[in-house]
């Protein structure tokens, strides 16, 4: 650089010879030479600290010692961010120079700053200061940029000139770059680019960019700047300005010296830029995207026809093009430059960016080159990813319907409807919601799509730019349409305003009677084809079933992930989660259980019934012994002389020897635990025996005392009542049987069911409901057994939206053995499980819905067993009206209702104490379909409240708080 300055000085000397003036005397005043203020000349001042040989040897990454990494990291972050900010300097003309510069800078400064950091030990506070300062500066730069927007178009032109004239220079510099690469060796290059990426990542973490995936964008300036300007968080912008200019200058210098020494680049970066406003403007205008979405420029500009990575080849070599930035890569480089292509053919740096709209047509169409490089399977996967990944989908704001750009939901609705617009391209469209007519703005209709979609605004009169003064649904139609109408036999005299429905029936505006069907005649469709006008497709004839068909249609994954809402159903064992799960299947699925499942369920139910019978027989033996004992005592009390005949003893519990043998056999089998293994065969054989048994007096007597048998589940009576039918070989379980049966769903681990709530019966005009029917839910049921102390896999379920926690209300007097073998109240176990789940880090900030199940049996039980039996509920002192006999009216809640509210409040308080948030609670009777339906719809409400929370949280909370406070203890 000093050399260059010297040349300048020499030049100055050469031209400063003053010639003596010989002409006539001058009347006007001579222009005086203004003394040059040396300080104000932009001089590349701070050069000396980096003599060239040193800068050459600089790029050595110092190994980072593990110790005090954190201390260094702050410094490193800052420095790297600044160095990476300098990377934000690509001006189109000087990219090559920039690249090498950036390699040097990032590495050089990286290692250097590390050293500096350890020597001078920059304290964290100073770092913060710096960032604060730059933040304010950032704001000012923001202003500058905002002001300079008008200059943009000018610059576009001159920039283009630059590009044209600069081709040669670029060729030069690229060659020099090649040499440079060769000199250092490939490993060096790899490494430096690595470090460069790293630095970008650091800077990314510093500015906490929300654009995940933007991290590895090497040259993602536009995007990053945009976010910076939005958030004012970043420290990058100031550096950005200065360094941009500097690199531009360098580019000039490079041209002067004829593609000379590339390594000089870092020297110039210290230049001051305050005077250089114009350049700043230019650059801003360049980075300003035309549309809201930004456009990505290729990372490097290269000689025309060359590969963007290896810089070799000419325009005839075959190349693959990045769908985003239009960079072209040759055979050897494409896999390196595009990596694993998770979104199709994009540079690694372009991943996460929307594709260029010009290339939408080639989406999913493979080139020969890829086919040659990769095998069929790989190509197929790439093309699949390219076509179906979310980023590559049409951006909704590019499509404007009836003068309003779409939102994402609307686009999804438009594309997922039963009869979507074909080959949707960005542009302005009109859409007649009543008839489903669809066309480009200013043109005749293209297609008839699904009507009544709530997309865009209302259709405008001049949407299709008609001038016929005949209106269909408020749109002035085109001449072609008018001709079609006339030929179809529609009376169009007197410029009528028609009202056309989706089935083609039309009526004049203001009149009720249908005048006819446009597409009724056979010839009309042919006519439409001739005039290239759309006719309704077949599927729209079944408009009644549209919604159901759109649900059953398999959706692309990118839509599915957005649409499915996951509900997690958990509860302590015996809380009825499986019943709710089964109920949901029966409620929302057309075929709740497949044939295979039913077969399996039949076996399960039958083995259960055997099990119940076994328990009863066991009980019978006990009762028999007891009653025998009693009988003996009784007899012995009566008198010792009583003739006791062992064989003659008859109790109500005695059975005949044949049944006795069966009973013994069954008990033996049960004791050995092989019931499941043998019984399908046994079923046929023993069915008559069982029938006999069930009708025996002893069995009936035992059945009457079944409440004394603790191991017999309460649900068994439902099956034992019809034991004879069930144990017949041709038994087919009804839905109700399945619902009542225990352990029929795959009880181990996880089960899930996808469903959507059926369309409400009332008129579907409300668009919100139409949209809701698109929403699908996934109910996931988990077995409580798996939730260990530090359950490792719960974090897999972090994407659920609501946790539905199920508690059996009637558990309050039940006991179970906990892990240590102690008898614990089941309600307390539920509570403990609830606490565990609520405080689990995975469910932090998750909505919880508490379902208090088995309300029916609870209501019965609470009349007999006080709620205070559970120690948690010992302060339950309900105020019961004295005149209970006539308290059946709704004003006086029953004891059961009081108990339910009390328990709900108990849980709500517990939840609030643990999380500070609010628990939704609802009672449910799992065996009652409507009750389960209501509960699951409540879960849906919770979800929608969650979405609207910012608006309504206050008022909503007050409702609940009053409810909570009304139950004081």
């Amino acid at each position: 650089m000093s050399l260059e300055v010297a040349i300048v000085v020499e030049d100055a000397v050469e031209y400063s010879f003053a010639m003596e003036y010989h002409g006539p005397p001058i009347t006007r005043e001579l222009p005086r030479a203004v003394p040059i203020n040396v300080d104000r000349i932009p001089v590349a001042s701070v050069v000396s600290p980096l003599p060239f040989p040193d800068s050459l040897s600089l790029p050595v990454v110092q190994p980072i010692s593990a110790a005090d990494i954190i201390g260094k990291k702050l410094i490193k972050d800052l420095k790297l961010s600044s160095s990476s900010a300098e990377l934000l300097t690509v001006s189109p003309t000087s990219v090559i120079a920039f690249e090498s510069q950036n390699n040097e800078v990032s590495e050089g400064s990286y290692s250097k700053e590390l050293g500096l950091g350890t020597e001078t030990s920059v304290s964290p506070s100073s770092v913060i200061n710096a960032s604060v300062e730059s933040e304010t500066e950032n704001r000012s730069s923001n202003d500058i940029c905002a002001l300079s927007g008008e200059l943009s178009s000018d610059f576009e032109c001159c920039n283009r000139d630059d590009v044209l004239s600069g081709v040669n220079e670029r060729g030069y510099s690229s060659i020099s770059h090649d040499e440079f690469v060769g000199g250092v060796g490939s490993s060096g290059v790899l490494e430096s680019s690595d470090s460069f990426e790293k630095s970008m990542e650091f800077s990314g973490s510093l500015r906490k960019s929300r654009l995940s995936g933007a991290y590895k964008e090497t040259l993602d300036f536009n995007e990053s700047n945009r976010t910076d300007w939005e958030s004012n968080e970043s420290v990058l912008s100031v550096d950005y300005l200065s360094s941009r200019v500097s690199s531009r200058k360098f580019g000039d210098g490079n041209q002067d010296s004829g593609g000379g020494d590339v390594r000089r680049a870092p020297v110039v970066t210290f230049c001051d830029i305050e005077s250089d406003d114009e350049n700043v403007d230019d650059d801003y205008s360049r980075s300003e995207p035309e549309v809201v979405r930004m456009k990505k420029e290729p990372a490097a500009k290269v000689r025309k026809g060359a590969c963007y990575r290896c810089l070799k080849g000419n325009r005839f070599t075959e190349k693959e093009v990045c769908m985003v930035c239009d960079a072209k890569y040759c055979n050897n480089c494409v896999l390196r430059a595009m990596g694993s292509m998770p979104e199709g053919r994009k540079c690694v740096t372009c991943i996460g960016y929307p594709i260029s709209e010009l290339k939408r047509a080639s989406l999913g169409k493979c080139s020969r080159m890829l086919k040659r490089l990769l095998n069929d399977l790989e190509v197929k996967q790439i093309m699949k990813a390219e076509k179906f990944c979310e980023v590559n989908q049409l951006p909704p704001e590019y499509i404007s319907v009836n003068g309003r750009p779409l939102y994402h939901d609307e686009l999804v609705m438009l594309q997922s409807c039963s009869n979507p617009p074909k080959k949707l391209k960005p542009g302005n469209y009109w859409y007649d919601k009543v008839s489903g007519l669809w066309g480009k703005v200013g043109q005749k209709p293209l297609q008839i799509i699904t009507p009544h979609l709530n997309v865009g605004g209302p259709v405008k009169a001049n949407a299709s730019n008609g001038n016929t003064q005949v209106y269909i649904n408020g749109r002035e139609i085109t001449k072609v349409e008018l001709r079609m109408l006339k030929l179809a036999g529609v009376q169009c005299a007197g410029n009528p305003h028609f009202w056309v429905n989706e089935d083609g029936s039309y009526q004049e505006e203001g009149q009720k009677n249908t005048k006819g069907f446009i597409w009724g005649k056979a010839g009309t469709k042919l006519l439409c084809a001739v005039l290239s006008l759309p006719v309704p497709s077949k599927s729209s004839d079944l408009c009644g079933e549209q919604i159901s068909s759109s649900i059953s249609r398999s959706m692309p994954d990118y839509l599915e992930q957005r649409v499915i809402q996951k509900l997690l159903l958990i509860g302590y064992s015996g809380s009825g989660t499986s019943t709710i799960f089964k109920q949901a299947r029966i409620l929302y699925k057309d075929i709740p259980f497949s044939e295979d499942e039913r077969e399996h369920i039949t076996l399960v139910i039958q083995s259960h019934v055997y099990n119940y019978i076994g328990i009863l027989l066991e009980g019978r033996e006990r009762f028999e012994e007891e009653s025998l004992h009693e009988l003996r005592q009784h007899q012995s009390c009566d008198g010792p002389d009583g003739d006791v005949d062992g064989n003659g003893e008859e109790t109500p519990y005695s059975i005949g020897p044949r049944l006795k043998a069966f009973s013994d056999w069954l008990l033996k089998i049960m004791a050995s635990g092989t019931l499941e293994a043998i019984f399908p065969a046994a079923c046929r054989e023993y069915a008559p025996l069982v029938e006999e048994l069930c009708s025996s007096v002893a069995f009936k007597a035992t059945y009457k005392r079944r409440h004394e048998l603790e191991s017999l589940p309460s649900i068994s009576s439902y099956f034992l009542e019809q034991a004879v039918e069930i144990l017949k070989p041709d038994y087919k379980p009804s839905d109700l049987d399945i619902l009542y049966a225990e352990h029929v769903t795959s009880s181990n681990g996880l089960a899930c069911v996808d469903f959507s709530f059926p369309e409400p019966v009332y008129d579907g005009d409300d668009s919100g409901d139409l949209h809701d029917s698109l929403l699908r839910y996934q109910l996931i049921r988990l077995q409580a057994k798996g939730f260990g102390e530090n359950c490792k896999w719960l974090e897999m379920l972090e994407d659920v939206r609501v946790v539905i926690f199920c508690v059996s209300l009637s558990d309050y007097d039940q006991f179970a053995l906990d892990g240590d073998g102690n008898r614990v109240n089941k309600m307390m176990l539920s509570k403990k499980f609830f606490e565990n789940m609520v405080t689990h880090p995975t469910f932090d900030q998750m909505e919880f819905l508490l379902l208090l199940n088995k309300l029916d049996s609870f209501e019965e039980k609470i009349e007999q067993v006080p709620l205070t039996k559970c120690e948690w509920f010992d302060d339950f002192h309900p105020v019961i009206s004295r005149n209970r006999s006539n308290s059946n009216n709704s004003n006086h809640p029953t004891l059961g209702q009081l108990g339910f509210h009390y328990v709900a409040v108990k849980f709500k308080r517990l939840f609030a104490a643990l999380t500070g948030r609010k628990l939704y609670a609802s009672a449910v009777k799992a065996l009652d379909p409507t009750s389960v339906d209501t509960a699951l719809k409540y879960a849906r409400e919770v979800l929608s409240w969650d979405e609207e929370r910012p608006n309504v949280s206050l008022s909503e909370y007050s409702i609940y708080s009053t409810e909570a406070s009304s139950f004081s203890h």
Partner: protein, 377 residues
């Protein structure tokens, strides 16, 4: 005998067992006069040193949209299968870094995956308590999904780990949350033997990991939440051959040492350990001291082909390369350029030992290999 009396006797017995265990531990400590590191140092071993380009990230496999939970290499070719929270198995060509199969799973909650020795099929398991086998050569259905070719059901808890028996495409060992390991016959889909479970001879908590001995495929190791690892003989299902105590947290991962006489384990206590299966002794503990007392858990380990290096992934995103002889960290992949942004959940070495693949919760997999061109120091 009354219940109270039984309880009392049980308590007494448990106490005896504990005291015996304690004595055993003391005795072991007494006999264990040295560990590997001290001995190696006394023998004048020096630590492995790494150049800048000796291990670099040379491929990034992008394509999953959720956390990667598990990965496995094929034994013969350079292919990788990975399982992610997005409910997909992806089969990768590690050389081109392209996907060859993307399998959408019926149950999205997948925890483990494995490549069959022939490379023809992949297995996966997860919260659905089943192990599903996919034949990669079978025809896809109309939605482009690969159908399940066999389902191995029988576990009563989630399937946490699965591994094919080496050189056999028909046998597979799974570990499960129901405290058992199961050897399956894939052709019939039935359990050949169940290890642990009903009798109190096996693990007393969820089994998280299995590793089959490469040189003697009858022996395998299982690691469990009961903070022990157990050695099993597939011919003797009734009881574990040996139980290895030492860890103070859940044993998340076990891996056989290449020679088959030792195995490594990684745990929630933040340490990796090396055990000898013949003596039952712990040979070495690999523990990096952290300033804060909350040590990151070890999620996955792998040995280099020689066994000199132990790669260990941690929950904080670190991936240490341990010198197994000197018990020193020689490299931290988590601090290298291009490293993962999040927890390293799984890692594995390719069959020829030339590349390491790491999977992370940042939804990427990375392949690390020798970066060519060793610099002169």
């Amino acid at each position: 005998m009354s219940v109270a009396e039984l309880k009392e006797r049980h308590m007494a017995a448990a106490e005896t067992v504990n005291s015996l265990k304690e004595r055993l531990k003391q005795k072991r400590l007494l006999l264990l006069d040295t560990d590997v590191a001290r001995y190696a140092r006394s023998q004048g071993q020096t630590r492995v040193s790494f150049g800048l380009t000796d291990l670099v990230c040379c491929r990034t496999l992008q394509g999953h949209t959720g956390k990667v939970y598990s990965m496995d290499w094929t034994p013969e070719k350079n292919r990788i299968v990975s399982a992610s929270q997005d409910g997909r198995l992806i089969v990768w060509n590690a050389l081109t870094s392209q996907k060859t199969h993307a399998i959408k799973l019926p149950c999205a909650w997948v925890m483990t995956c494995a490549f069959s020795p022939s490379g023809q099929s992949v297995a996966c398991g997860g919260l659905d308590s089943m192990c599903s086998i996919f034949n990669l050569n079978s025809q896809t259905d109309k939605d482009g999904n690969l159908p399940v070719s066999r389902v191995l059901s029988g576990h009563k808890g989630y399937v946490s780990s699965c591994q094919y028996v080496p050189d056999e495409d028909t046998h597979l060992i799974t570990a499960s949350g129901d405290q058992t390991c199961v050897l399956w016959d894939i052709t019939t889909g039935l359990r050949t033997s169940v290890f642990g479970g009903e009798f109190q001879s096996g693990h007393t908590a969820d089994v998280l990991s299995v590793s089959i001995n490469g040189s003697n495929s009858r022996m395998f190791i299982s690691g469990s939440c009961d903070s022990t690892a157990r050695l099993w003989d597939t011919r003797v299902a009734s009881r574990a051959v040996r139980t290895f105590h030492g860890h103070e947290g859940d044993v998340n991962t076990v891996k056989f040492f290449p020679d088959g006489h030792r195995f490594g384990s990684g745990s929630d206590d933040g340490t990796c350990r090396l055990f000898d299966i013949r003596t039952g002794h712990q040979l070495q503990e690999y523990n990096q001291q952290h300033d804060d007392n909350e040590a990151p858990h070890v999620t996955s380990i792998a040995f280099s082909t020689s066994g000199r290096l132990l790669f260990a992934g941690y929950t904080n995103g670190d991936c240490y390369v341990w010198d197994t002889l000197l018990a020193e960290v020689v490299l931290n992949l988590g601090k290298l350029q291009n490293s993962h942004d999040s927890r390293i959940s799984c890692l594995g070495l390719s069959a020829d030992g030339s590349a390491l693949c790491t999977g992370s919760w940042d939804s990427n997999l990375k392949i690390w290999a020798f970066g060519g061109h060793r610099r002169v120091h």
